[in-house]
């Protein structure tokens, strides 16, 4: 059976070139960058090259890139390190109501430590309420964290707009952007967008798992979260994950090679899927319509078909997607994003996410649509009475 992988927002296949360099570093150039001998120097070169590659994609400086263990660490570091470093300047942190748990949970922790968190609501399509945000941008704000692309529905936050408002209303505040679903899909220049901290994860863009980075503007005040041997300028101790960094560097470079074509291709896949879904009755598509939304994410509720059951049904046919929330709602809380956009219970119980990479094809989209048209009537026939 042919495999159709439509779960690229969960993780992606590692690119052959990234895998190759990871293997090479592991088996040949395995030195510790901190060692003084040649082996160490050779290893350090990989880390430096990766940093150069990544900095280039953001039009940033090399010394603004710090390697981490992935998106969660980058987010935790940016938020906790950023809040602690700036706590004398104020106590308020602004964020959106539909952030990923890797942002919302560290913020809950900071809340428990006495920081004041304001969560800005979003509308039915996932648009940030800029009017509310404007009101909350006060002198007391020290940190703001807004995701670039929402991981569940692909809604896009107006990062440029937020950056401008920040400059005008609370210029002291640090601006953190969780770009884990956006990097490689948008050209991001933190400097132009007034972003101080930016989180990226490697395995969402054909890099290895356990890799990622945090962009930190030179001027941004941030405390380290991990202390130890003083690697990465003392900001992030621990022997560098050299193979991981090398693989990440390759993946980042590839993500911005043929960038315009790739994004246009993803948009084409997405539009094709959305058009097909619109013809399936009782289907609600979440998020922003057309090119407003992210190019690679489609979230749809097939009312009356349990999301997990649909997931397993498609899995049987070799199609991999992800389910927002369990169909047994009394056991699990609904998804934070769908709750934030005010989705109904029926929508939450039947929502699934399709997410593409440039390795997917239009034939795969057509195949998935055909399978959906075939299985949905059967699944919808069996419901709890």
């Amino acid at each position: 059976m042919k495999e159709i992988y439509f779960d690229n927002s969960s993780t992606t296949i590692v690119s052959p070139e990234a895998a190759r360099i990871v293997m090479k570093v592991m088996t040949e150039d395995y030195g510790n960058p901190s060692s003084m001998h040649l082996k160490g120097v050779a290893a350090e070169k990989y880390v430096r090259e990766a940093r150069v590659k990544i900095a280039k994609t953001l039009r940033a400086k090399e010394n603004e890139i710090y390697f981490t263990s992935g998106g969660s660490e980058s987010n935790n570091w940016a938020l906790i390190g950023g809040a602690l470093a700036n706590r004398r300047a104020g106590n308020t942190i602004l964020t959106s109501a539909f952030e990923h748990p890797a942002v919302s949970e560290p913020l809950k922790f900071l809340e428990s430590q006495g920081f004041h968190i304001e969560r800005i609501p979003v509308d039915r399509e996932g648009r940030l309420r800029l009017d509310v945000l404007r009101e909350k941008m006060t002198e007391d704000v020290i940190l703001m964290s807004f995701m670039y692309v929402n991981n569940e529905i692909g809604a896009v936050n107006p990062i440029e707009e937020i950056g401008k408002m920040k400059t005008e209303l609370c210029p002291k505040a640090l601006f953190h952007v969780d770009a884990i679903q956006a990097y490689g899909k948008y050209r991001i220049c933190p400097k132009e967008l007034k972003i101080d901290l930016l989180s990226v994860s490697g395995h969402k863009l054909h890099g290895p798992k356990g890799t990622g980075f945090l962009y930190k503007a030179e001027s941004a005040k941030l405390l380290p979260l991990i202390y130890g041997g003083g690697q990465q300028g003392g900001m992030r101790s621990g022997t560098e994950n050299v193979p991981g960094a090398a693989g990440l560097g390759v993946a980042c470079e590839e993500a911005y090679t043929d960038f315009e074509e790739n994004v246009a291709y993803l948009r084409k896949l997405r539009a094709r899927l959305v058009a097909g879904l619109r013809e399936i009755p009782d289907t609600v598509i979440h998020g922003m319509p057309g090119d407003e939304g992210a190019p690679h994410i489609v979230n749809a509720a097939f009312l009356g078909a349990g999301s997990e059951v649909l997931l397993h049904t498609l899995e049987d046919r070799g199609i991999y997607i992800s389910a927002g929330s369990a169909c047994s709602t009394h056991k699990r809380a609904g998804s934070p994003t769908l709750t934030a956009i005010g989705a109904s219970k029926a929508e939450m119980e039947s929502s699934v996410r399709f997410s593409f990479s440039e390795l997917n094809t239009e034939e795969e989209v057509d195949e998935a649509l055909a399978v959906l048209r075939e299985v949905l009537p059967v699944l919808r026939r069996y419901r709890r009475k």
């Binding site: 059951v309 397993h312 049904t313 699990r332 069996y382 009475k385």
Partner: protein, 392 residues
Amino acid sequence: MYNSFLIKYGEIGIKGDNRHIFEDALAKRIKTVLGRIEGEFTVRKTRGRIYVNCGGDWNYDETVTQLTHVFGVVGICPVMIYKTGDMEKLKADMVDYVSKEHAGEKATFKVKARRVDKTFPLTSMEVSAALGEAILQNFPDLKVDVHEPDILFDVEIREEVYIYSKIIPGPGGMPIGTAGRAMLLLSGGIDSPVAGWMVAKRGVTIDAVYFHAPPYTSERAKQKVVDLAAQLAKYTGPIRLHVVNFTDIQLYIYDECPHEELTIIMRRYMMRIAEHFAREEGDLGLVTGESIGQVASQTMQSLVVTDAAASLPVYRPLIGFDKNDIVDISRKIGTYETSILPYEDCCTIFVAKHPVTKPLLHIIERSEGKLKEKIDALVQEAIDTAELVIAK
């Protein structure tokens, strides 16, 4: 440090002429479980006792854990073995034992010596008195109480001297393999693994059957049941688990029968399929985790209707247990953490909002009549496509 365990077993001792069968089964089971860990163990049966002597690179905690997984074991006494000698050496050994095992304790004690080796010059009574004396002299915080001592020192003079004073409770019951086989209807919940454990504890070898319903239940739910069976297998030995795909039967019942009767009819077909595999395995009964009134399908009335689908006896060891009692056992035997993983019964589609609680057999049978066109073929297909997993 200890170098031996005395295994105490209760009920086996009273099984008359068949006693050796039970003892052999127990000794064999002990050898099997100790085979899973590092160390060289010899299991010896002597005069109504079983000793496990430990050598090689063995670990105390690991060994005790394995022994507490053997049904039939009532108590596990860690023993120190000393070479035989004269009374003076014996006193010195006694003092050595107390200083290692009960140093600094403030307690009352009694010494119970037994002279199995009758060539030893003193009688059991004399040895007890002399050792008690030695303890009193060396440990001022220990006082004699011959009626209700806190610590009872057992001293056995055999070809070597065995001293022990601690007893770790075992699970009790009867050795596996001494009471026939039974088929457990295993789900991913809390109850059925406990039910299987309780029946196995009476010496019964356990087979199992699990009904899954992809895509309504996930691969993870199945893995969870395999994991539960593997946890049970630590007590019972490898379990033959029959995994039956129940989806088509379930959908057919949904299509043809009254919705509020769905669960009870489903359970009757599960019983029938379980019985098929039970007969194949040579099982003498079915085992379920039901307890009266826990859910609609476990009322007295429902149990009558479920029972009628099976001709083998249905054993329900949890029948009078409250949920929290079941949870306690489940924690004790190590299945709880797996049972509460959230993969079970993900789909409530097949659970009616208002199921019958007092079904009548003739009405249910009439509903089942609506299935006659296809159900035999579907049941046969479920049996033919079942997968056998050996959980261990």
